[in-house]
Symmetry: C2
Subunit: 453 residues, 2 copies
Amino acid sequence: MSDTSPEQLDQILAAAAAAAGPLGAALPAERAGWIRAAADALDAAADELVPIAMRETGLPEARLRGEVARSSGQLRMFADALVDGALLDVVIDTADADAKPVPRPDLRRTLVPLGPVLVFAASNFPFAFSVCGGDTASALAAGCPVVVKAHPGHPEVSVRTAEVMTEALGKAGAPDGTLGLVTGFEIGVQALQDARVKAGGFTGSVPAGLALHKVAANRPEPIPFYGELGSLNPVFVTPAAVAARGAGIATGYVGSFTLGVGQFCTKPGLLFLPTGHGLQEQLVDAVTGVAEARMLNDRIAQGFSTGLERLAQVGGVRVWASGDGATLLQTTVPELLARRDEILEECFGPVSIVVEYANEDELLSGVEAFGGNLTATLHGEPEDAELAARLLPMLTDRAGRVIWNGWPTGVAVTWAMEHGGPFPATVGSVHTSVGVTAARRFQRGVSYQDTPD
Amino acid sequence: MSDTSPEQLDQILAAAAAAAGPLGAALPAERAGWIRAAADALDAAADELVPIAMRETGLPEARLRGEVARSSGQLRMFADALVDGALLDVVIDTADADAKPVPRPDLRRTLVPLGPVLVFAASNFPFAFSVCGGDTASALAAGCPVVVKAHPGHPEVSVRTAEVMTEALGKAGAPDGTLGLVTGFEIGVQALQDARVKAGGFTGSVPAGLALHKVAANRPEPIPFYGELGSLNPVFVTPAAVAARGAGIATGYVGSFTLGVGQFCTKPGLLFLPTGHGLQEQLVDAVTGVAEARMLNDRIAQGFSTGLERLAQVGGVRVWASGDGATLLQTTVPELLARRDEILEECFGPVSIVVEYANEDELLSGVEAFGGNLTATLHGEPEDAELAARLLPMLTDRAGRVIWNGWPTGVAVTWAMEHGGPFPATVGSVHTSVGVTAARRFQRGVSYQDTPD
């Protein structure tokens, strides 16, 4: 598939800019109807879209069907939030002639759309973080036209998804230009620099996200840019948890870090276990038993292979299991601290590291080694209450989601979900990228002062 | 007063970083108590602080006393919002084992502080947008230590305000390092580049704000930077409004644009009147009657003088009144459109431009000439309903606050206030800088998944 030409880009952005007015001015119920039409069309096209995605990404059918359902469900969730008024976040302060130090006028604040949003699709979710994904759904619900920069890992399903949604949006009455698609690296950067684009959303690597963040920030008119970048998602296990349910933790861990061939942004990259945990054999067996599976594309497979080779050669890192489908490494907290930057460089794919700690001080030092992450998980038991009370604030400082006795993979799409976290988990964002409040990334407030209905 | 040295800066930032943990972990009622103590101390010190500010800024006593009251009231408003839980924005989704496509865990989302915030104080409000201003109040309420970069226009009152607040915070039990102050241009930039600073707030000019925004965005760890920059605050008057209450509009306009010697970010910089409005004589009389008043400092007075000279010489711009204390210029919509960039360059001080429109098309073209502003105002009558319905969406696209039959100066500090707007009114912000939601600029979400109480 050839890249979008600069002339085509100009037409697509002109259409998006023209759509911004009518899309933003549409009544919530009307806009919600358009979004629901796109969701229905997506479900109806699943039989056609899923096989294309399977061929392009190597992901299994059940996973991809789940992704389509998650995406259409997410579009409907935003449509519901639009209809019930939650997305408008209306606040009313009535006039108060006696207010001090000055009388107060009648003020009614609501949220309005920023304008056309450019969404950079991710490689690892051909639906849920791509053309029909959360950035698109939240921006459309906010009232912003969306231009998606397709990920080169799944171009055909991107084009077909855009066609299916665009047709449905058009039939339902949405303005032309509500959804557009562009392809090509250079054209994506060019689009981000265009004055008609008013915000950007991105899911991908730290270097790419940082580079695009700078493009957005250094424009003559800087725009908000929301990047979801890297995350190691450490998991910390107390001795009491090992004693109570070590076998279950080992099984859960291997299942979580190998899910989707380890290609989730919430993959647990490290598991902290107390020395003498006695789980090595079980972990090695579980990892060795993981079947080989195709990665998303050759570039990612090559990157994983290179990253794994690098990681396995870092001093203090030992290979515990090297199976066909997954690899398990091991180190200790002192060794981790000695080579922190090398060991904590994210390796995207089915590999994870068991980090052994000798005592509570080492466990705390292990937590302190981390910067921003999407998630941090603690496995503990009721008798760990005191330790948990010390650890939870430390985990809160380092993550957007703190999980107790669970696993980070699997991101519920709800109001209370936070899919974000301190840098480098995200850049340019104090907002979540999953969940209803994700729409706030593409809205700004307007107050109407003494304005008649 | 000498600039803060790099060694002093290091100590101040170390103290702020050390305060971040305890300040963020404090219970809402406890933190609110500290903030209220600072507010009380501010009020108690008004007799000492106001004369210093009068000397340093030339602003009159009544205005400055009002500013102190506004600032202490604002601190208390944030303390109240903290206690009633509004600032935590808690959202709870209980577990749902039957949720599709996957079972849903228990998720509880709240907001946590980002960490130390660097606040660049403004020249024109030595209290309300300075050491004890809205950025400081909202950041403290969010649980973030604050380091203020003092404005060089009022250094002494900045130092004394910081001392008064720091003493009160300390006596009340707040951690050392909760509030710090630095002086000097270079040291401000250096502070913004420091890894311990996690967010920035700024009120000032477009060039300075853009430059600092880029510093924040281009750090190894980019941080959110909220800048409130320039605004022209256009006011549009319909023929019916002129017929119904032209004299009152003329008086209100001159009062608004000369308030505070025209040194408000919400000063109405342009007044659109229909040709044949018959208000010239009254406007000229009112402007000529404005008494001379000292501007904030020599640099601002010099900038105003240069800007006024430049503006008066733009082709198509005529001087209607050039009094001791204010200047009124006049042009027409076609002339404005012909020299848009020259005429719409903000001139900070007591000058405004009457723009005459010949018909409704010219009025609409006049609105379209504007980019982002803090405010946009429409004066109309009931019979203007159809025109107002066309204009209000256009004003909404261009401003953070849309005012009906009022004046933009005077910013109510309430939940529903929006003090923001599209670039260049703000940079890096989809949030208001005044009002309770301003605290959200310094918070991020965290979800707790299945975490015990």
